[in-house]
């Protein structure tokens, strides 16, 4: 089986309101940068293109087609789309290469969440009979999860505030971050609750932006002469759509996906989690049994900027960046979808051998 590598990753800044820019205008500059990074001219130079976006954010059916038009689909390209975070477009692209149908792929994700009321928009992803008609929003569901953890003594509010403080500090080194600063846990705890037990700081911001990556076989990466990180494992698992049937204080699906992706076959220098709420970073760290020798969310994670449909791909991109910069030999990237960490993807990336 051909080994697959990441050779390029770019993202836009996470901004709270991209103003008059539409989604196509958010993604095209990022694509141009990733083409330049990899040394290709356009989408014709890869064998497959896959994107992730959500019509509900744009409020229009088949909204992603505008992106494909702007990308340039003539002469015809092999193209696909997931109504999910682009991390799943990454997954689909890996399958495409593994099946021998492509040697290279361009992956991108984009979202402009600012025009709508994101927590309410996301309520419509829930069970259509029992939950969506109640318009129960994502922040409220996460708050129910956080209180279960607090009541059971699994975390304290200070533990949550420390996650926030570390995210803000780590984000100082992330040029794309929306929220950053030298903040202490005490300062976070001094805030009043917003949706009890959550404070505003426990909740990821609403962000507009895009990210893109190029992957290819290791042979192709060496042919192109590019630094790369090898994707040694990837898996994703979804839990029940009924929150009452799940242990919300654990993430069984993340643990299983990480086992299947081969996490345990080596040390994990860096882990980037998609944890939109502070307590969820603690759930994920514990579910995988990661300790002090793993750097958790050195980018600040999505508490520092949450690009719906792109921040999952960004987790993979952040690990890739650290590996090619020589800061890590092996890392784990995690993405989530659905309420309270319902659906989880884990990818393991390793330093490639010198060409």
């Amino acid at each position: 089986m051909k080994e697959i590598a990441i050779v390029g990753y770019q993202q836009s800044d996470c901004v709270s309101d991209a103003g008059a820019l539409n989604e196509v205008e958010l993604i095209i500059p990022v694509l141009e940068r990733v083409f330049e990074q990899v040394g290709i001219s356009n989408a014709q130079d890869v064998d497959f293109v896959c994107s992730g976006s959500c019509d509900y954010l744009q409020g229009a059916a088949f909204a992603f087609v505008l992106g494909v038009d702007a990308l340039g689909a003539v002469p015809p390209i092999k193209e696909s789309h997931v109504e999910m975070d682009a991390a799943w477009a990454f997954y689909e692209s890996i399958l495409k290469i593994r099946m021998g149908h492509a040697d290279s792929a361009l992956i991108y994700g984009f979202g402009k969440s600012s025009p709508g009321e994101l927590p309410i928009v996301l309520s419509q992803q829930l069970d259509p009979y029992y939950l969506a008609p109640q318009w129960v929003d994502t922040i409220s569901l996460a708050a129910l999860q956080a209180r279960l953890m607090l009541d059971q003594g699994k975390i304290t509010e200070r533990d949550m505030a420390e996650v926030v403080a570390r995210s803000r500090r780590n984000a100082l080194n992330n040029p794309h971050a929306q929220l950053k600063g030298d903040v202490t846990a005490d300062e976070v705890l001094a805030e009043e609750t917003y949706l009890s037990p959550l404070r505003k700081a426990d909740i990821c911001p609403v962000s507009d932006g895009a990210s893109a990556a190029v992957i290819c076989t290791v042979e192709k990466a060496q042919e192109w002469g590019l630094p790369y990180a090898v994707i040694t494992g990837i898996d994703h698992i979804i839990e029940s759509h009924n929150p009452g049937m799940r242990d919300l204080t654990d993430s069984v699906s993340t643990r299983k996906a990480a086992e299947n992706a081969g996490m345990g076959e080596g040390k994990v220098d860096v882990a980037e989690f998609y944890a939109p709420f502070s307590h969820q970073e603690i759930i994920l760290t514990r579910a995988l049994g990661l300790g002090d020798d793993t750097s958790i969310n050195p980018s600040g994670g999505v508490l520092a900027g949450n690009l719906m449909m792109a921040s999952g791909l960004s987790r993979i991109g952040e690990v890739f960046n650290r590996i090619v910069r020589g800061e890590a030999d092996r890392g784990l990237a995690h993405t989530t979808s659905g309420p309270c960490l319902q659906h989880n993807l884990v990818a393991i990336l390793e330093k490639g051998e010198a060409a």
């Binding site: 109640q134 129960v136 569901l141 129910l144 009541d151 949706l195 009924n242």
Partner: protein, 148 residues
Amino acid sequence: MSQPDILNQAFELGFTYTRSTGPVVGRFLTELKKRNIVGIKASDGRVVVPPMEYDPDTAEALSDFVAVGQEGEVVSFAWVKHPREAHPMDKPFAWALIKLDGADVPMVHCIAAKQESDVSTGARVKAVWADDTIGFITDIRCFELVKE
């Protein structure tokens, strides 16, 4: 020539079809219309409310309905200080996981309460029915605290 009137046409974005909810979800919603709450037994015997069509662990099709109580216990809650327009209440309220008497699995619904400190994990609540029940989850308008 006089200025023509601007042409107007009302337009409602929505699905113009109705859906059959099937023997499990449909049974639950029909019972709600009659102001009853039913659950279903999962493969391991746990009573799940609202009922699910398939067991999430074994994928077995479920069909063993069980009537459950209209009162229950708060398993977790989230206090909404700033209700959103789409929310079921226009003043502060709680979303909650509520385990009804006779059920083993909590359900998501809302609780009407005056203030956050009135609600607590373990508190007893009871269902309040809408004036007109139509076979929707919102036939249960909300839950309210049971006075001890």
